[in-house]
């Protein structure tokens, strides 16, 4: 339910050529055109459809207000209260919960770990996704089937993927060990998860990368397909090499798509939980912010610290997403 920072303005750009915002005006009758709502624009003659619109959006507004906005406000408030069902009463503690989580070395480690998860998640997902997008850019026989195969990991539950990969990583009979040993890359079977921190994080992150790369590939593919063919034709007339075409035409023009793919990968990897829960459980080695929040809250029942950690993580996620959009996203003119 998270992780969609850039969708709004980015989609506006992408859909513009097909006329969502630009041409819709022409399709509307003259009387309606004037009061049409434009993103960021003003509504000139409100209320002309009477009560009907309010009835139509009422269920939506109730759901969002009660189960998205109200809980978020509660998180912000409760982060400053002591709230623990085992040691009542609840009381205001200022920044006490934050002091509590920062003095907890497990929490500090999970912050660092989450940084690694984000780094691996973004770099691997965006580069693999871009590669797959470029590979599928031109139509060829069987592309439809390959596209379906590429999408598959995205459609599967993260937990199930964690379970499937934990069997692949198995220290005593896993296929990864078997393959690496046959290739003489390792002398004997290894314990991959839980020994070295960065290795553990990389391998758990890889499971998530496997899941979300299709998303990046589809976003990049959509960006690629919006590039006019003439640009490529011009380049091939000029005798440009494939590498040069990719570097100086393709990549700059899919910059907005890359920005969305990056934000998506970042937000999803900052929220990594399912894969960590299965592969790492509550160990500190590969703990993520989300898994630490879960265990502090629902295992230690320290709700106050759970709220504080949630608030911090929310702020980090939203800020990181906004920052990436600001840095990477720019409109492209063909």
């Amino acid at each position: 339910m998270a992780e969609r920072a850039a969708g709004d303005d980015v989609d506006q750009h992408r859909a513009a050529p097909s006329g969502r915002y630009l041409y819709n005006e022409d399709r509307r009758p003259a009387a309606k055109t004037r009061s049409r709502w434009l993103p960021g624009g003003k509504q000139t003659r409100p209320g002309r459809d009477g009560a009907l619109p309010y009835l139509m959006i009422a269920p939506l507004v109730v759901f969002i207000a009660a189960l998205a906005i109200y809980p978020t406000v509660l998180t912000i408030i409760e982060a400053f209260f002591h709230s623990d069902p085992l040691t009542p009463p609840n009381r205001f503690v200022g920044f006490g919960n934050f002091a509590g989580i920062f003095s907890n070395s497990q929490v500090r480690t999970s912050f660092e770990n989450t940084g690694w998860y984000a780094l691996f998640g973004v770099v691997l997902t965006v580069s693999l996704g871009t590669g797959i997008g470029l590979l599928l850019q031109r139509p060829f026989r069987g592309r439809g089937i390959i596209l379906a195969i590429v999408i598959l990991p995205w459609a599967l539950p993260g937990v199930v993927e964690g379970v499937i990969w934990s069997w692949i990583y198995n220290p005593t009979v896993g296929v990864l060990n078997s393959v690496l040993k046959s290739l003489h890359l390792i002398g004997q079977y290894q314990l991959f998860i839980g020994t070295h921190r960065v290795e553990t994080i990389l391998l758990i992150s890889l499971v998530q990368v496997w899941q979300i790369t299709p998303l990046a590939a589809l976003i990049v593919l959509a960006g690629l397909q919006s590039i006019p063919d003439e640009l490529y034709e011009g380049a091939s007339v000029d005798g440009a090499s494939w590498h040069r075409v990719v570097r100086s035409i393709t990549l700059p023009l899919i910059r907005p798509a890359l920005a969305i793919a990056t934000v998506q990968a970042l937000v999803i990897s900052l929220n990594i939980f399912d894969q960590v829960y299965v592969l790492n459980a509550s160990a500190t080695t590969g703990s993520s912010l989300m898994s630490t929040t879960y265990f502090i809250t629902f295992q230690d029942l320290n709700f106050g610290q759970g709220y504080a950690l949630s608030l911090l993580a929310t702020v980090v996620t939203v800020l990181a997403a906004v920052l990436i959009v600001k840095v990477l996203y720019r409109k492209v003119e063909y």
Binding site: M1, A2, E3, R4, G7, D11, R14, S18, G19, Y21, R27, K32, S35, R36, P46, G47, L52, M56, I57, L60, F63, I64, A66, L67, A68, I69, Y70, T72, E78, L135, I151, L152, P153, A155, L156, P157, V159, V160, V163, I164, W165, W167, I168, T172, V173, S178, Y189, W210, I212, L215, L218, W242, V267, N271, D274, V278, L289, F298, L309, S310
Partner: protein
């Protein structure tokens, strides 16, 4: 010459992409059809020579290795279907009606309300998880279908609204005008003309929403982890942490994978539409 080389490099790259995407699932399937001994051979056997169904029989309580180890998978399967389908239908009903109002009708504060609803897309799980647990336990909705469906719906609504809003904005307004000229009210035009025309967009939204629901884990882990309501994902994590044979764990994973895999292979063009319209997960 150069061109040919490029062509074969491309084929190798495509083969690697296919291998990367399919191998983990293949491996689970292969393990689930093996005997315990065959599954644990070293070096690993890449294919299964004599496939057996014993793991699936054990899972569903019919085999010799009967399944207090695994038990409850039939119920968990029912739970995940009920919860996912319920949330998908509720989300669609609310989002389609709401998106139409935002796309076509005029009312006060429209822009502001729309932006606030869409902005909740950026809220990470952290922001709402603990309060939703408190709210649901105050309402006695923990471990009920209704509770989990309400929570899922609140989470899926912004994306479904966004996709459906784009779908309606892309439809020419002339179709409703024709209906209005023929004397239909706004609601009649919506029901009889707009919804049927927007059907492809609605199907895409439904499929993407269903897959989200099927993949949920942390919310049901917190909100419905009793056996009467736990979805398959939560049960699978529990089986995985118990001392159950690998063959049975992998069979359970394949059961959880089957429905999304079928959807991907038969309905993938809707998924592409849904993802690129929303460009989100």
């Amino acid at each position: 010459m150069k061109r040919r080389l490029r062509g074969s490099g491309r084929v190798v790259a495509l083969a690697l992409v296919v291998l990367w995407s399919l191998f983990p699932v293949y491996w689970a399937l292969k393990t689930s059809l093996s005997t315990n001994a065959a599954a644990q051979q070293a070096p690993a056997q890449l294919i299964v020579t004599h496939p057996i169904w014993a793991s699936y029989q054990a899972l569903f309580g019919a085999g010799p290795e009967s399944a207090d180890a695994a038990g409850g998978i039939a119920r968990a399967l029912v739970n995940i279907v009920v919860e996912t389908t319920g949330a998908t239908l509720l989300t669609l009903a609310i989002a389609v009606v709401g998106a139409y109002a935002f796309a076509r009708l005029r009312f006060r504060l429209k822009g502001a309300i729309f932006y606030v609803v869409i902005a909740t897309l950026t809220l990470p799980v952290y922001a709402t998880l603990i309060p939703l647990y408190r709210i649901m336990s105050d309402l006695h909705l923990v471990n009920t279908y209704l509770g989990i469906i309400l929570v899922y719906t609140s989470g899926f609504l912004p994306l479904a609204l966004w996709i459906m809003y784009n779908v309606f904005m892309a439809l020419p307004a002339s179709i409703e005008e024709a209906a209005r000229i023929d004397g239909a009210t706004t609601l009649q035009a919506f029901r009889r003309v707009v919804v049927p025309t927007a059907r492809p967009g609605i199907v895409a939204t439904a499929i993407v929403t269903f897959l989200f629901g099927w993949g949920q884990f942390i919310f049901p882990l917190v909100l419905s982890s009793s056996s009467s309501t736990e979805p398959l994902t939560v049960l699978l994590a529990a089986i995985d942490s118990r001392n159950v044979p690998y063959t049975i764990i992998n069979a359970a994973a394949i059961v959880a994978v089957a429905i999304p895999a079928v959807i991907v292979f038969f309905l993938n063009r809707w998924i592409v539409t849904g993802i690129t319209a929303g460009s989100l997960k």
